[in-house]
Each structure stands twice: as C-alpha cells, then as structure tokens.
Symmetry: C2
Subunit: 453 residues, 2 copies
C-alpha cells in the first residue's frame, strides 16, 4: 500500500500540484474517493507543509441519507482534525429553474460553493477527488458521443485553483487502499443509478475492455489525455492569435472577413469558426455547423445557412454575417413564378406579364420590374437576419432589419415581413419598397407587374 | 439505395477525392467493401470522367480459397469491363523473414504492389475500400491501446495518391446495398478470425455501444477523426518550424540544444521530442520515453536515461545527447565501495585505501586517485552511448567511444569496455585511462588505489 501512496505523491510532485504553505479546501462528499483524498492529504500535510479544510455540499437529493452523509463528513473531519464546512443546496429546484440535468446542476452548484468558501476562508486551492477511472470514462464517453479535442482531453489535473491529486489512481486502487487501511466511507447509491450512459460504460463496457484489450486502460488514457490537452491548448493559442484580425462582433452580429482567412492554415479554419461561434453566441457548436459554415465560404453571395441554436449565417461578398435568426414557425418559403397567384398572410401575391404603357401609381402594393434579364422563378420568404437590399432611390445597401425599423414596423409585424427574391436577390420588400436593382429604366423592354391584393 | 450512392458521391465531391481524367487503380480483394467500391466507381465513371483498373493481390494464405478469390475478381472485372491485374505474394514468408505480423506484412505488400502497378500502368490514384466502421474500430482500438493524436486520427480519406471514397459509409450500409442490388462478393474467412483485438472490438464491443450509447458512432467518430487529423497536422507543422533550430542529428547521435527549448510553448515540447526520436531513430516512441526525456531536461549534467528501442539519452550542460546504446546483455551495473573486491570479466577490481608514498607505475591496471572529496561508493558499468570523460593529460573532454577507437580496441571488445563511476562522473576507463578530474595533485591528502588483477 506504500506503493499507492508513493504513486500519488509522485504525481503531485511531477505535476507540481501542491506548493509549500498552500491552503487547500477538499471537496468532501463522503464517498470513497474524497475520503481517500482527505486522508492522504492529512497524512502528508507535514511533508507538503499545507493547511487543509473540507467542504461538504449537501445536495438534499436523498433525504435521510443526505443528512447522514453530512454527519459522516463532519465526524471524519473532527477525527482528522480538519476544519469542516458544510452547505445545503437544493439541486432539484436549481435544476428545474435553469433546465439543467441534476448532474449538471450538482456540478455547477458544487464548484460555485467550493469557490465561494475558498474565497471566504482564504483557501488558495481546491482539491477534488477525480480518479483515473473517472477520466477514462469521460474520455471514452465523449469520443463515443462525439467530441473534439477538448472532449477527449479528459479531466485536467490542474485548472485554475482546482487540483486533482488522485487523478493518477484507479477507482479499484482507491477501494483496495481503503479496505486495507480499514477506512470507512459512505456509499452514494445515486452514483450507481443516476447517469445512465456513464454507468453503462463503467459497469458493462470498461470491465470487458480491461479484461480483453488493456488491463491498464486508465493509465493509458490518462497519458493520452495529457497529449490531447496539450494539443488543444496549442490550437487554442493559435486560434487566439488570429481571432481578432479575422472577425468582429457587434454584440449581436458576427462578421467574418473572408479575405483574412487565406492567411490561416486550412486545418485551423474549422477550429477558428468553432471558437468564434462558441465565444460570441455561447452555442453548442456541432460538426455539422462547421461543415455548413465552411461550405458557405466558397458559395456565392446571398446564400445563407441555418446553424443550430437558432443562429444563421449569410454569405456576402467578402464577409460572412452570423447572427440569431427569427425562427419562422408559420411561414415556409414559397416558390412562385410569372402568371401564378400565391396566397400569403391572407392576401394574394401575383407576378404578371405587363403591357406598356404602365400607369405608375403611388400604391405600395403594386410595383413594376424589368423582365428582360431575369429568371421567371421567384421565392417568397420571411426576411432573415443579415438580409440586405438596395432600397429604391437610395444609393447603396441597407439591412432589411434597419429598413423595417425606419419604416416603423411594429416588432411583432417586423418578424413576419415577407420579401420577394429572384435568383437570391431581394426584389421587393413586399408591400413596402422595391429594390434599386429592379428599377424600370428607359432601356427596359419587357415588364413584370408585382401585385399584392 | 439512391441515398447510399448520393452519400458516397457527396463525400467524394466534398473531400475532392476525384478529378476529371483521373486514372484510378482499385484495390480489389473480392470482399464486400472492395466489390462495392469497384461497382460504384464503374457506375459513376462517366459522371466523374475517370478511368478505372483493378488490382487483386493474392496473399496465398488460404490455398484454394485464395485462387477462387482471384478468379472471382477476374470475372467481376470482365463483367464490368474494367482492366484487371493480379499479383501473387507470399505474405507468410515475408512475415517470417521480416518479423512482421501477417496483417502488417499483408498491408506492406499490398501498398507496395498497388504503387508498383499504378506507376507501371500510369494510374495517378489508388482507391481502397476502407469504410467508416473500419475507421471507428481503428480509432477506438488505438485509444484503448494507447495513442497520441495520430493514432486517433483514424484512416485518412486521402493520403498522397491514395483515396478512400467509401470511408463515409458503414459496413452495414455496404452490406445492405450489396444485398439490395444482388451483387455477389467473396467472404474472407480470415477476416473473421485473424486480428483478435479488432474482431473483439468489432463483434462484441461496438454493437453494444451502438445499441446503448450512439447508433451512429461511425459517423460521429469519422467527424472527430477529421478534427484530430487537423490538429495533428497543425502540430506537426509547428514542430517542423522549430525542429532544425533545436536539434542536430549526426547520423548516429542526436543533440538537443536545451537553451533553444524555452522559446517553444511548453505544450509543444513533448511533441517535439517525440518527432525527433521517431524521425532520427525510427523508433516506436512511448509516453514513458517522453516523460523520461522531459524529466532529464531539468536534471543535473551527467544523468542519463534508457529509452525504449535501445536508445539512451544523456544530459550534458546545455545539451541532451541521444543515441543507440549497446544493450548490455551480460553485464548489469555493479555497485562497489572502498575495501571491496569485485569480480568482473574474470578479473578482480578492487578499490583500497592507500598509504603514501605511492610508487607510481606504468601499469594500466593500477591507478591512484584522491580520496579527499569523494564519495566512497562507486559504480562499475559498461560505457554507454554518449558517455564522455576527461582523459588524463588531455585538455578537455572526449567521447568514450572516440577514445576507445583511438586506442584501437576491437569493436567486439569495445562494447564490453567497463568504466568506473563516482557520483555519476567517470573516474576510470577501467584498465585504460584515468580521468583528469581524479588526478593526484600536491594538494591531495588521502588516496585510493584502483586495481584490476
């Protein structure tokens, strides 16, 4: 059992987790891992010259058992002569309020309280009892469920003020040590049932893999995690070198300058896009999002794609505009053509061949456009975040959004506004304003009439 | 089934695997994957404007079955109007000769022949039928058995002139397609039994994971593979930017300049060390090798570590020297001390306290050293690659290796040469030359006598 302790001490030294005079707050659940961690740190506190306290967070998920856990931790700390803190949090109500899973809520509250207590009582480090089995499960589960480098980097042995001194030993090694030294702990029954996927991996997959493919898979994956974490770190650095040159974020809309991208290695672009989306829209970026964005880079201006989390991206000439789009729950784009009448929002829109001479009117629901070099297929759709057009009579472009604001369209109506497109160009903000590019000139031969009745 | 074909075509287009006028040589085993690949490429050869040929490599591992495979492939190509080539290779004898596994030998011979035929008959691309199930197996197996980024990057869809157009579909999808279209193929029975670990993963682990955790794990891992490959590529680039500044390789010995390392991000150092070892010694670098080398960086001069593949590393003041060491099969380092007699190579070495006055002699098997500021523990060991000492009478250091050459020691004897160490310093190239640092001076009080009898 000396070997076990040496392994942990060597890990702490190698990774430089503990310095002289550290004040360390241990996250103490009462389960085997945290009980072991506390015992070891206490045993070696003189060697490390450290101060130790422990915080128990009562998640109030298991009634009497939760109170018993707390009592157990208090008594353990008394017996070890460790300062004990405890706090009760209602994980269930937090989970219901913020729509996180119970596990996620527990995690958030735990780290929040650990940091709060550390700050309040002057602990410069927080120690959690994650072990190499937890790490292997995390890495494998993330790989199986879909992950980038961050996902398979596993649990870091050090992150900010958080240290994980027993990350180098397996759950099994911990249990043997506790048994050998007759150290008591609490069995958290929720652990055995709450996280279905993790438990399936832990209880059914990993044991077989260990038996048949690699008995020391935890060590193997811990080593690999470190390689992956290093790589992730390097790429993050590299992306951050470029990120401010390549894009601007206005608070709502992200602009990616396409002429800056060729300066980057192509392999870096997916990571850059991912970081930009994550950073500015706090979204869970999928592989599909990145594929769509990447393909948009080489598409013609005016094309757009919908990403996950209600974010959409629009290609303009030298820039990609990204922002939240208004989810169009009631109106799907409608194809129409010359000679056809379409029912929209209780009115009829028709596009007709039109004979000269035209009687121009002031009616905003009637417009004329040149038919000469134009496709006779049209699309009617709601305007999208990022849409721009050339308002008739104005020199240059304007965002449809801004135009609608200037027209004092009520915001409830604004999102319902329809536009008519020809070949991806906005022809008409329907019922409001024609596009300058579709103005009748003295060179116009044939004419279409647009009409909303 | 149209969907299946579209998926493959889209993949080929997206990854730009095929260009107009490509001449593609398909690796045709006769199994389901390669039969499907050939059929699909033939079906779309006009769309892609390509020429297709197929090479069957008869591994001669399964007697009659092997000849039947070859016949099947020949007939298939005739029916599809595809130029057919075949070649017979004795995988077994190659495997025995070069000590590779049968799988590895098959792989080496396969790619060798594919390239040879492609060159000979003017094919600019080689297509292999790896699918997303193969990729998922490779990634998972590598992660489980221990891998860096390269290992979990899976099977690349393109590498040099090799393309893998069906890497986007699963084994199951391929089988359904073949069944639906009533396309025949050969069942390779060796596939079902030869690679124990891969088959275990394929038949026992992956099906459960698919059922319980992620039914589309192949797609998921294919996406992740690409992320990992990008990262691997970026880091390789970054390492290559530095590699020539940081190290020199003489053909035998690698010098890493320690004063150059701080210019690198610390996360890059493990990758740099790994690349240097792989590149210069063609060794399989383990995580442990890198840990040892990294720890050597901060150790005192004179320390050395043995790496895998008979490579050892020696720390000198500003440099780490790495080279193959002579595997010492018969002689393990021996600890000795003053007053003790040790049996080595049929002779006796003793270190004794010695009274003045000394009768200096010319005998090379008798030397005197100062005992004043010296440890009384010594080590006798074979000299190691990278060892240096200060030959008595010479101003400066010399490699032990060079010294032995100059002394005209036969190479069979050279590797057996022993040295005496005190506190990691070479005291005596035993029976040949004392070290300058251990010279008796007029300040010397106490004296040890070294004697080989």
């Amino acid at each position: 059992m000396k070997h076990f302790e040496q392994k942990v001490i060597r890990f702490i030294d190698e990774k430089n987790l503990i310095n002289k005079n550290d004040k360390i707050l241990v996250a103490l659940s009462g389960g085997p891992d945290s009980v072991l961690l506390l015992n070891l740190l206490v045993k070696y506190q003189k060697r490390f010259k450290i101060n130790i306290g422990a915080l128990h967070i009562n998640h109030r998920l298991r009634g009497v058992d939760s109170r018993e856990d707390e009592r157990f931790c208090r008594l353990l700390c008394e017996s070890l002569n460790v300062t004990f803190y405890s706090v009760r949090k209602n994980v269930k109500s937090y989970s219901q309020k913020y729509k996180y899973s119970l596990e996620e809520s527990g995690r958030i509250l735990r780290y929040y309280e650990l940091n709060r207590f550390a700050d309040k009582y002057g602990y410069n480090k927080i120690a959690t009892a994650h072990n190499s089995s937890d790490n292997a499960e995390t890495v494998l589960l993330n790989l199986i469920k879909g992950a980038g480098l961050r996902g398979i980097s596993g649990i870091p042995y050090k992150r900010g003020n958080i240290i994980r001194p027993v990350l180098c030993v397996t759950k099994k090694e911990i249990n043997s040590y506790l048994k050998f030294h007759k150290i008591n702990f609490r069995v958290d029954l929720t652990n055995l049932s709450s996280d279905y996927e993790r438990n399936f991996l832990r209880n059914e997959i990993l044991p077989v893999i260990k038996k048949r493919l690699n008995p020391s898979i935890e060590d193997t994956i811990l080593n690999s995690s470190e390689i992956f974490r290093n790589a992730d770190c390097l790429i993050e650095c590299k992306v951050n070198e470029f990120i401010d040159d390549v894009a601007d974020f206005s608070g709502k809309e992200l602009k990616i300058y396409l002429n800056k991208l060729p300066e980057l290695k192509p392999e870096l672009i997916p990571e850059l896009l991912k970081t930009l989306l994550k950073k500015n829209f706090q979204m869970q970026v999928t592989f599909d999002d990145i594929l769509k964005l990447k393909s948009l880079i080489n598409k013609e201006s005016g094309k757009n794609v919908n990403l996950s989390s209600n974010i959409s991206a629009l290609k303009e000439r030298n820039v990609i505009l990204i922002g939240p789009y208004i989810r169009d729950e009631n109106f799907q784009p409608v194809n129409t053509e010359v000679g056809k009448e379409v029912q929209i929002n209780g009115k009829k829109l028709c596009i007709e061949n039109c004979e000269r001479p035209i009687k121009f009117s002031n009616k905003k629901n009637e417009e004329y456009i040149p038919a000469d070099n134009i496709d006779d297929k049209f699309i009617i759709r709601r305007w999208q975040y990022g849409d721009r057009f050339y308002p008739l009579g104005l020199n240059g472009t304007k965002k449809v959004s801004d135009f609608l604001n200037e027209e004092k369209i009520a915001s409830s109506q604004k999102k319902k506004q329809l536009v008519l497109l020809n070949n991806d160009k906005i022809v008409w903000i329907i019922g409001l304003r024609l596009d300058e590019r579709f103005k009748i000139t003295n060179k116009t031969n044939r004419i279409f009439k647009l009409c909303l009745r």
